[in-house]
Symmetry: C2
């Protein structure tokens, strides 16, 4: 069965795209077949994986807005990596939320991605995957909602800063609402601490706050009752910021760096978190 | 005359709020009367300045959506700082863009903030200011457009990372469109390098790219023809990330830190950039 994971955080610049690309690549190195879906009109995941969004004839925008679109046709293999695939984004995706708005009242706008990826997710099609990672834009709008109705799991990249805590409750409230309204099997698997500066007091205080919050939910019927703070964190490492400029993940750009190590360990934790679910 | 500066970048987490709060406080320490406007439904500037957005009875949301709202009544002094004022945000602001949508076709939705701050900006009212800083949300939507039609200047906080360059042209294109459509005196004063890691190759390459781009526009009729990259940059400094958790700017929390120094120098550059305009 395919694990579908939404990389979610409405706060901008916290590491969603960096995590999608490098966790995806790390899972690929463990032998998994990984599909990465770029759901952000900024198309940063697409750029990160060496694809120019301005050169695309088709993208996830077409999957969402064109009734005849076929996901199997739109998915492309990442160059040099046969077990890594990409469903790319383009700038037109910015208009998708407006175009889909008329279908919101019936609930179908919220499920377009799920409906049109159904064939791929069921494993019936030519392309099959063990993991689907969905990179979300920094908002809780219709694109992110589509990720939440499609996914079985949520992973939250976050920065251990004070203002990061402010947005967390709103994020989890949204996950709860989608679980109740559309997707009963949706659960939060964990939080990824990105750009982490472990030696600072601020980081340790924020991490303690997040863990206390999660512990308070362990016996409640909430989607984060089994969520963990993935350990170890992803350390700040300039190599991770440099690799997108080469259109490569850390494993092709700087395979011996801290960034490569940290995402490899995250992949192991994510694989382990899936056992027995 | 009052300088109205929009702190703009559709990319999230690049330092807009940190810059608004600390540049505002630094200008205040130079004797300027500063109004900071929180235009972000996340209300992070409001939190940063020690105000709980959940406790507010009135905010910029009311200014935008209530015909009877009076800006002079909604503006509050920042505790302990008689020359620093705040027009706060609250979570309801998230609905403002939808509520104002019917007024978009006539162009009035885009100018609501300008119209309702007109009295304050002209200096006719009881509260008078030398600087108005507008903290924008991470988007180029209606709230940000309102900042652009109200402002005379744009300052762009940015991180010297590769993906930051991707969004810059879209940002500047939007400034140009608003200048043409609504606000002929709008100009880009400069870019603030935030969370800067000067010793990295990536940072120096990105800065060189930005400077080359700006130089290419020096003899053109573009709003960034006189824009500079403010020097020195704002260095990464954990004190800047800690201060919002105390509801204080860097000058009350850690006045001898690098963060305090860097924003003081930015204030001097911003004051100098206003001479002879
Ligand atoms: N561990 C890290 N060390 C250093 N830089 C990092 C790290 N993780 C991410 N970055 C850089 O920080 C910036 C923001 O990261 P990223 O784009 O992944 O965040 P995001 O949450 O996807 O942003 P957005 O909300 O805009 O989609 C990028 O320039 C990225 O290269
Ligand atoms: N120079 C710095 N050194 C260390 N941390 C910083 C610095 N500048 C900002 N930060 C921290 O980085 C995070 C993002 O900064 P900030 O909230 O100012 O960005 P923003 O552009 O306003 O984000 P948003 O797009 O969500 O409004 C915050 O946690 C902030 O405290
Ligand atoms: Mg991203
Ligand atoms: Mg902000």
């Amino acid at each position: 069965p395919c694990r579908v994971i939404a990389l979610l955080n409405q706060k901008g610049g916290v590491g969603k795209t960096t995590t999608t690309a490098n966790l995806g690549a790390a899972l690929g190195r463990e032998g998994c077949r990984v599909l990465m879906v770029d759901l952000d009109p900024q198309a940063h995941l697409t750029i990160h994986l060496g694809v120019d969004p301005n050169e695309l004839e088709s993208s996830v925008y077409h999957l969402l807005t064109d009734d005849d679109a076929d996901a199997q046709q739109l998915i492309r293999t990442v160059e040099g990596h046969e077990n890594l695939s990409l469903l790319p984004a383009e700038v037109n995706l910015a208009g998708a939320e407006t175009e889909l708005a008329p279908k919101m009242v019936t609930g179908s706008a919220q499920r377009v991605l799920r409906d049109r990826l159904a064939g791929v997710l069921s494993g019936d099609g030519e392309k099959k995957f063990d993991y689907v990672l969905i990179d979300c834009p920094p908002s809780l709008g219709l694109l992110t909602i589509n990720a939440l109705t499609t996914a079985s799991e949520v992973v939250v990249p976050m920065q251990a800063h004070f203002l990061a805590l402010q947005g967390l409750s709103k994020l989890l409230e949204t996950v709860q609402l989608i679980r109740q309204g559309f997707n009963p099997s949706l659960r939060v698997t964990g939080m990824v601490l990105c750009m982490h500066e472990a030696q600072t007091i601020l980081a340790s205080e924020v991490v303690a706050d997040v863990k206390a919050f999660l512990d308070a939910g362990r016996s409640l019927d909430v989607p984060w009752r089994q969520a963990v703070v993935f350990d170890p964190p992803i350390r700040r490492n300039i190599k991770l910021a440099e690799s997108p400029s080469f259109g490569k993940t850390i494993y092709d750009y700087a395979p011996t760096s801290n960034g490569a190590d940290d995402y490899r360990k995250l992949a192991a934790s994510v694989i382990a978190a899936g056992v027995g679910q």
